[in-house]
């Protein structure tokens, strides 16, 4: 299981991904010369990039580099001090704040600390995302069953989060993020609290989410994950976008993250064959 796989969706040409590109019509997320300041502290400076519909992008950089600020801008939890952020065709600077909840319904969130409701079962946690947006009861039951089956937790639907492992909790969080069939999934260090094997499983699950056509923006500061990541990588540091690289040729096709970290290269090679992918999980 490598973090590499052939793209399931048509990708735009490399020219669209180059650093400094301007927002274009195919983009689901566009940053155009964006500055962001928090109380006189500059979090982002002149950040420009676009992400196309259905793309899987890794956002990396050290802690405090500006990764979370970028995710916050995409979620319209913060608004640019300068420049423009356009998400799903909605420009942040002209966005009526009352419409932010509507936009959020098209974005799923996954976090390092899972952010599950501890006093509710797995099923209730997932159903909650549908309940608050007004999905009818019967449809909620069907959708919850569907996503819990997809993440392999249907049998554990009555358990509380504390009765699950970290990886299982993160799968619940992914199920919750996906139950509303979002167009964008923002994953903020989703593997940060997980061991490498479980982290690999979560990344694989995110790829399956991406296979369904959902754009995934995945942030991590973990170099090992980035090294084996065969998709587009945005590197930020000090609030600036340092590079925007689309890895058309896999960096380390021979080894999964687990192999990379725990096995000697000679030993890892025979086991590194990626298993045949299942059909897109959220098609």
């Amino acid at each position: 299981m490598a973090t590499q796989r052939p793209p399931a969706n048509p990708r735009p040409g490399p020219e669209a991904w180059s650093s400094g590109s301007t927002p274009d019509g195919r983009a689901i997320i566009s940053f155009h010369h964006v500055d962001l300041e928090y109380e006189d502290q500059k979090a982002l400076a002149d950040v420009t990039f676009s992400i196309a519909n259905g793309e899987f992008v890794c956002l990396t950089g050290p802690s405090g580099a500006g990764k979370s600020s970028i995710l916050r801008l995409v979620a319209m939890d913060a608004f640019p001090t300068k420049g423009q952020v356009i998400v799903r065709g909605m420009p942040a600077t002209r966005m009526n704040r009352g419409r932010v909840p509507q936009l959020r319904r098209e974005i799923g969130f996954v976090f390092q600390d899972f952010r599950l409701l501890e006093d509710r079962s797995v099923e209730q946690n997932v159903a909650f995302a549908q309940l608050v947006v007004g999905v009818p009861h019967l449809q909620i039951l069907q959708n919850v069953m569907r996503v819990l089956t997809q993440v392999g937790l249907y049998d554990k639907r009555h358990r509380l989060p504390r009765q699950l492992s970290g990886g299982e909790q993160q799968r619940v969080a992914i199920a919750r993020a996906m139950v509303n069939s979002p167009k964008i999934l923002l994953a903020d260090e989703p593997t940060g609290n997980l061991d490498p094997v479980t982290a690999q499983e979560i990344i694989d699950l995110l790829f399956r989410v991406n296979d369904s056509g959902t754009c995934v923006l995945f942030s991590t500061h973990d170099h090992e994950i980035v090294k084996t990541f065969g998709q587009r990588v945005l590197v930020v540091d000090g609030g600036r976008l340092l590079s925007d690289e689309r890895r058309r040729v896999p960096v380390d096709r021979s080894a999964s993250l687990v192999d990379h970290m725990y096995r000697a290269p000679a030993e890892a090679a025979p086991t590194a064959q990626r298993p045949a992918r299942r059909e897109p999980a959220h098609a």
């Binding site: 509507q102 319904r105 608050v132 007004g134 009818p136 919750r176």
Partner: protein, 294 residues
């Protein structure tokens, strides 16, 4: 528009707070009830003082004593002149003999003392009463000042000092009530708002998740507002229940005690509901403007 599942959820969440946070809820209700009780007692005292003042004003009249060296016809001419003065409702003639007879009655056992006098020392007089609107020290004083200038008048009496003092103290009490009421009201809002903030802090995760999945602020706010309103309702019923019991006991022992009407009691309960809503709204408003901490 909310669907049935959402309405059920909001109703469940609104009531769930009571079982989840028994102590906080209990303390909030007690604080709100105490605040309302203080406000209601202040209002009740002000109301009763007002009634007392009205009663005292009913006795606000003038006794115009006349010179005894004037012919009766001339004294009789004063009656229409007095009636023409602003605010005067009634003018009653009390001649010297009637005044003496009244005085004899008042003296009781000492009445033979009056036999020692060689003549009636009491002058004839007019008893001037005023319309309810004119029963104020200022209006009566204006009439007195006018009448004092008349040649036929020897002396004028009216219970000015008592009414002045009562009016002065009533005004001071009303002002003190207003200030105290305002302080109690603001303190209640502050306490309720902070209690709700504690509640919200304990529900931070659920609010955060709601914001993440696209719940509107109105949807997030609703259970907290309902909780605040129900707390206000319970506090109002508690406070007004206690006050009604106390009012019944006082009503029996104090003659002329004025108590709230059922509609006024209901008004206080509604006020407390509003207080609960306002406290919740104030707390939520600040919280919902904060970032979702994505």
């Amino acid at each position: 528009m909310l669907n049935r599942a959402q309405v059920n959820y909001l109703a469940r969440e609104s009531l769930a707070g009571f079982s989840r946070r028994k102590l906080t809820t209990g303390v909030t209700i007690l604080i709100m009830a105490s605040a309302l009780l203080v406000l209601a007692v202040l209002t009740l005292v002000t109301l009763n003082l007002g009634t007392l003042l009205e009663t005292a004003r009913g006795g606000l009249d003038l006794r115009v004593y006349l010179r005894d060296d004037l012919p009766t016809e001339r004294l009789a001419e004063l009656r229409p002149r007095l009636l023409a003065l602003p605010g005067v409702q009634q003018v009653q003639w009390i001649d010297a003999e009637a005044a003496l007879a009244e005085f004899r009655q008042q003296l009781g056992e000492d009445e033979p003392l009056l036999d020692l006098l060689d003549r009636n020392p009491l002058p004839s007089s007019y008893h001037v009463t005023f319309t309810p609107a004119a029963r104020t020290p200022d209006a009566v004083r204006a009439v007195r000042d006018e009448v004092t200038r008349w040649d036929e008048v020897s002396e004028i009496l009216f219970n000015q000092d008592w009414v002045d003092a009562l009016e002065r103290w009533t005004f001071r009490f009303q002002m003190a009530s207003l200030v105290a009421g305002l302080i109690v009201f603001l303190a209640a809002i502050f306490v309720i708002s902070n209690t709700v903030k504690l509640t919200i802090a304990s529900s931070a995760r659920i609010i955060q998740v709601q914001k993440l999945v696209g719940a509107t602020n109105a949807f997030i706010r609703t259970p907290f507002l309902c909780e605040g309103a129900v707390q206000g309702l319970l506090a109002g019923i508690l406070a007004m229940g206690l006050l009604a019991i106390a009012g019944r006991v006082l009503g029996r022992s104090l003659g002329g005690f004025v108590f709230f009407s059922p509609a006024q009691l209901m008004g206080f309960v509604m006020f407390c509901v509003t207080l609960g809503l306002a406290g919740s709204w104030a707390a939520m408003r600040k919280y919902l403007t904060l970032r979702s901490d994505i």
